[in-house]
Amino acid sequence: MMIESIPITVEVNGTIQRLKVMPHHSLAVVIREQLGLLGTKISCGEGECGACTVILDGKAVNSCMVLAVEADGCSVLTIEGLAKNGELHPIQTAFIEEGAVQCGFCTPGMVMSTKALLDENPEPEEEQIREALAGNLCRCTGYHRIINAVHAAARKSSVHSGETK
């Protein structure tokens, strides 16, 4: 049986992409290798570590566990989609300011999980932050500074929305 690539249309960071993807390729592979967006990391490749976390139709998912063909008709947000006009997103700034980045390999996934959390719940309790990030492993920081960064990002965002009101 011949296995052929399948055409999909997917919105990635606000841009419509028409791609031909192999059925066995994960969304993570296509994001990195076909779109050249290397911020999304592949580490375990089996749903354990969260390094590949992207936001698919508003929900945080492991892009290594989603087939690229399944993203047809969906919208995907990767870490590259956060900064606007060369200015970092408040979550990214908070991670830097709180010293929540060491080697940085987990960071894009952590930031995307944080984004999904704050979109849903702008003022999360510590427990809710821990639950939202339980699927993101970090080998460097010991997590405290990451949790602090999420708190700081939540404060920044509430200040931001206050300003625009």
């Binding site: 066995h24 969260g50 087939l67 339980a134």
Partner: protein, 288 residues
């Protein structure tokens, strides 16, 4: 990952025709959180992966019926865990669903996929067993219904034929005022399979149900322990007798997560906690 073809049937007629055509060489894809790992580890090597996502008739929500609820085949663990009626009437199921994996896994993985994967440690299966679940199974030749306890045969084994799929799970409404809870022991908080899972429900009349997961080839109801508690669930000595009966019914294995002796001990500890919690929730008939 090994290569495969992919199909996205648009309706049930197309779906069952594909399953009939390919039989055992097709794999059904729901959330993919088990299937994709099975394929990349070589445990499964389908010629074709058949996705359910485009099938018009299949539901991704929990539907309220006059005599219970129907969990749609594409309802994610997140959807089920957050559903108000599930939280209120089937509390143990909501608690089990939110304990599966991580947020990312729960946003993709489905309750029906958790059931069809038939892991002895599947969290929602243990909780579902409290609520007399009935699965609706579909094939080209027609529909049948099957009780969850008959559907599960053993680790990774179900009574599904190669050309069948599960369409939905029906849970009848529990007796007014039933309280329930699910307790899970795992090696680390979040993102680990259960070492032991215990689900318990209490009816106001004093009827108790107990389901145990990860301590046998499949999750099961600890019937002898339930009978021991019937009518007298608050007496401490009686609770200890029931716990011993549940521990005898458990047939845990030893693996890298835990030894069988430890698992059997933990059945006792978790069941004690679960009973306390369910009874507290059911205080004076005011179950929440």
């Amino acid at each position: 990952m090994k290569r495969f073809n992919y199909a996205e049937p648009k309706n049930l007629v197309e779906l069952v025709a594909l399953l009939h055509q390919y039989g055992a060489s097709a794999s059904i894809l729901a959330g993919g959180t088990d299937l994709i790992n099975h394929i990349s580890h070589g445990k499964r090597s389908p010629k074709i992966v058949v996705s359910l996502r485009g099938v018009a008739e299949l539901s991704n929500t929990v539907i309220e019926k006059s005599e219970g609820i129907e969990i749609g085949v594409l309802a994610t663990l997140t959807t089920v865990a957050e559903h108000p009626l599930v939280r209120q009437r089937y509390t143990a199921l909501a608690e089990a669903a939110v304990k599966v994996g991580s947020k990312q896994i729960r946003n993709r993985g489905t309750v029906v996929g958790n059931v069809c994967n038939a892991s002895p440690a599947a969290d929602t299966v243990t909780a579902l067993l409290l609520f007399d679940p009935v699965l609706s199974v579909l094939a080209e030749t027609g529909r049948r219904t099957v009780a969850l306890s008959d559907f599960l045969l053993g680790p990774g084994q179900t009574s599904l034929a190669a050309d069948e799929l599960v369409e939905s799970i029906f849970l009848p409404t529990p007796i007014e005022g039933t309280a329930s809870t699910y307790r899970k022991l795992s090696r680390r908080e979040g993102v680990d399979l259960a070492t032991v899972g215990v689900a318990t429900s209490v009816e106001w009349s004093g009827n108790i149900r107990i389901a145990l997961g990860a301590v046998g080839p499949k999750a099961f109801r600890a019937v002898a322990a339930e009978l021991q508690l019937k009518g007298n669930p608050r007496d401490m000595d009686n609770i200890e007798s029931a716990i011993r009966l549940a521990q005898v019914a458990a047939e845990p294995i030893s693996d890298l997560r835990a030894s069988n002796e430890y698992r059997r001990e933990m059945v006792g500890a978790l069941l004690r906690q679960a009973l306390q919690q369910a009874l507290a929730r059911c205080k004076g008939g005011e179950c929440k």
